[in-house]
Point group: D2
Chain length 326, copies 4
Amino acid sequence: MNTFGTLFRVSIFGESHGKWVGVTIDGCPAGIELSEQDLQPDLERRKAGAAGTTPRKEADLPVFVSGVFNGKTTGAPLTIVFENNNIRSADYEALKETHRPGHADFVLNKKSGGFNDPRGGGHSSGRLTVALVAAGVVAKKILEGIKIHAHLAEAGGTADIEAAVAKAIEMQDSIGGIVQCSITGLPVGIGEPFFNSVESVISHAVFSIPAIKGIEFGSGFEAAAMRGSAHNDAFMDSEGTTKTNHAGGINGGISNGNEVFFRVAVKPTSSTPQEQHTWNHATQAVEAFTVKGRHDLCIALRVPVVVEAVTSIALADLFLVSKAGR
Amino acid sequence: MNTFGTLFRVSIFGESHGKWVGVTIDGCPAGIELSEQDLQPDLERRKAGAAGTTPRKEADLPVFVSGVFNGKTTGAPLTIVFENNNIRSADYEALKETHRPGHADFVLNKKSGGFNDPRGGGHSSGRLTVALVAAGVVAKKILEGIKIHAHLAEAGGTADIEAAVAKAIEMQDSIGGIVQCSITGLPVGIGEPFFNSVESVISHAVFSIPAIKGIEFGSGFEAAAMRGSAHNDAFMDSEGTTKTNHAGGINGGISNGNEVFFRVAVKPTSSTPQEQHTWNHATQAVEAFTVKGRHDLCIALRVPVVVEAVTSIALADLFLVSKAGR
Amino acid sequence: MNTFGTLFRVSIFGESHGKWVGVTIDGCPAGIELSEQDLQPDLERRKAGAAGTTPRKEADLPVFVSGVFNGKTTGAPLTIVFENNNIRSADYEALKETHRPGHADFVLNKKSGGFNDPRGGGHSSGRLTVALVAAGVVAKKILEGIKIHAHLAEAGGTADIEAAVAKAIEMQDSIGGIVQCSITGLPVGIGEPFFNSVESVISHAVFSIPAIKGIEFGSGFEAAAMRGSAHNDAFMDSEGTTKTNHAGGINGGISNGNEVFFRVAVKPTSSTPQEQHTWNHATQAVEAFTVKGRHDLCIALRVPVVVEAVTSIALADLFLVSKAGR
Amino acid sequence: MNTFGTLFRVSIFGESHGKWVGVTIDGCPAGIELSEQDLQPDLERRKAGAAGTTPRKEADLPVFVSGVFNGKTTGAPLTIVFENNNIRSADYEALKETHRPGHADFVLNKKSGGFNDPRGGGHSSGRLTVALVAAGVVAKKILEGIKIHAHLAEAGGTADIEAAVAKAIEMQDSIGGIVQCSITGLPVGIGEPFFNSVESVISHAVFSIPAIKGIEFGSGFEAAAMRGSAHNDAFMDSEGTTKTNHAGGINGGISNGNEVFFRVAVKPTSSTPQEQHTWNHATQAVEAFTVKGRHDLCIALRVPVVVEAVTSIALADLFLVSKAGR
């Protein structure tokens, strides 16, 4: 299933080497101003081009298929597609029998009984995140007065990200990173106890992004070593402002009005230029191979805007649910 | 909303100081052997009693309300309730105006417009995890051949958990911990790309447990500092066995047949015997107070079986979905 | 699955001859006044007792398990149970091998692999409608200003219902009927085009009631023989008041502010005192048999309040969704 | 919301006068052969062209956007779009202030706060049923061995449909009809008691089709006047074959292995060439007007294949759910 949300339902479709990738938002309220230009800033942030990113460049021009009329959403399902115009499928022919380590090639082949589209990762490609970013822009518009900002805090184990990327290029090996995300302006009372806690819903959305392997809210893993008297955030006024914010703005799964923040671990790009070994289904042996194709040495550079997008999608859904009296 | 799952739908109900807490499993297959005794081992693991746990003790005798006939599930909704027989509501009278730091009292009050049941945390109480554990036992029965095991790996910042608890008792301050969970026997192909990745669904379930603030799969946050050539897990045979397991058994959100494992950060119990300061809504000032009632100094001791339970619930749902050809 | 709704989610559990039957409402807004007495009028309307109804009488005293505090809903899951205190399971022993025509015995046996609870129809019993009626009372409270009223318009093919029941008693054969339901005060704009049309959602809910075999909105089947110029309801003012109401208050699946009304066909009670023939799985032959147990000669007498209940549940859900900006 | 289904989730998007209309199937199993040609027969059946249908003709060439590779489904979301190539928006300019009786113009305007796309009914147009038909073809492929057939049984009140259409043309007034649908080969045990009865799920899907105002299963409304001894269908063998089939193949909401059949009432096309009266929001008075544009005098002629499609979608979903052990 590739659908997320209860009231603001986002579903994505498309493959890396298909004609289009796209997204449908079912449940988008009517009357929201929306133009192609509104999407550009976030689409630009996601784009390749910087050192450490893939030479595959896409125009990423959004096409509004439905749900927008006279520059405003209509309340009908909102579908946006992006053309895939920079495809080099031949790069992948060699990999039919050699499932790349770290990639979904092997599991998709098994799961689909061999019917998956293996070109460029098929539906599991990071290409699909362009659709998430588009939906994120719409979600942000619903979250009026709420600011969601993510940035790359570390790459390759250091906060000096430029240096980390330079070293990755020098070593010709991929690296990962840590993305930090902050949400301000979120009102008290978003989220539900137990199954729809803010942490549950955000983590569900964030782990939808390829390459994410960890998430922690507030003090996160450090909290595990703290004492209660140090960890507890004392309330300082009737609005719930807390003296400290170890909880990351969430008590019992529900927003308490303070800043919500979390950190996300991004693994190194699975496609590294280094020679690797893996099982070759044709020769029935472990063999050396080198990934061809065009890839990001540090995919983490392009992840923050995607984290912002899925977080916005998750919050927009919780926000609409809460408007209904929950 | 307090419902989780698509085909194996679990919903919990009840309050800390109500008459019963319970769980309904909607979508439980027919023909599964199930007796009160089957639930005992996991219920025992969750129970208080050890050093560092609350003196509030519950009999925790499951009552099968529906969905079981002649010792087997019928396929109809399966409801199990537990009596709350050790209630001391008076303990909480003092806290009406003083929302305890770290607890959901404040946010629930705001969210519900003041209509929440504040006694013992009401519906947000850890008491409800008894219902999750019961559902987990049923989920485990669906996951034949799959072993899910969680244990407390660290408490109060150390792997010597006994020492950590002794120190917490000595200091009279609560502590947190790290729970580690391992899943073996999971077949290849469970989970979906993007929105229903194994990490998405497990993290959603795990963050439903009160006090959880972080989760990482495989190498997790350490992966963020690794190089791709070191992180990638080489496939060694046609079954997908990998040489290393930095991915924690999940590629592209889908199980690859290797061990799935993850670590979970549990914050220190919000109720610490230490004097704390917080806003008093009656006096309109920050005031000192001390939590009364009976609480766990190290709730993390009781969390592993709950992590197992919600992980089992999440996997049972993914497993049934996958049986349907997904 | 036995769950209905997106935001106002109702799930029912229990069996005819189990200890309790019950309902959980997940998503009930906080602050709604609710007492056992509030439920009595509708529970009374559903009760047996009149001529033509079963001699099995239940006290039908609702027990609030969770979600109500100080006489108001808390926003947490609201669970209500009813004891089954008038059970005569022996009546059904004889039917183990003889699946009663018209009943779910045969299909449940096949569907569950023989694991279903066959006593009194198990989970499929009309007894479960007591839980629907309870949920309906809560739903009605959400639908402030909206009146939903159902009544029995025909029984046994005539509008003289008393005569019809008298004849059924005389013939000792069960009869069916037509229930008519009217909804006034529904604002414009409830429902969605296509998959969540008002007709879709109401019919889904209404066909959940055992014994319902047809539904028609507005002119319904008669519309099929009308001309467009006669069927179209002319708008008479800016509020959408229509001159006629052949559409039954719904255009394009969405409420237009006029009265919504529909008619429902109730088949005759499957349990008739008449001798019947059916397959005997023990003797492997078609044999004569007579239904024992206590049954309604005209179940339709007790259906109107259940139609009201499920309609209210369906509308409460649409209403909350619409409050969220849909 | 415009999404239907639990495991086989269908969502449609697009507007009458937009660039494309389309459908996404999320949850389509992998390995199903699917070509543009497979869709042609049903698309042809839906097309206009016959006497009594609209002169607006669409090429209706399906474009597979995603989810199909080498002629087979991949298990990824399957998106199909159709170009709208025969648009005459000018026809609708005059209707901005005059909401056509029977149409969704008025309710959509109110529901969306005036932001809906009013051209040709926007998203509520019957044009969208081309997307339903496409999804229906895929659904039918999942329902191997199950035959779903719908036909027009009556039009304008008579079984002589040719005569009815001739008369409608002569009178220049639109007419409705009755569609009959039969399902053979459905195994025992599809559907669930209460909320997901076969009748609930099929009626939900069928009322998604514009212009449908009634549905009855088996003897339907006639059953309301029958006696139980006459209505009950005696089982004749261990497979559940019944002597009669008044129940339409469904007991207690679950398929019993016999033919399932139902009848559907289609109202006359709202767009009739006859002069009508309705409220003019500009002049604030009831005024005469005539619908321009190109319309079907007897839309019921084109409905059977759409009924087949949505019924197939509904059953495919129930079928996959049942494969999962429900």
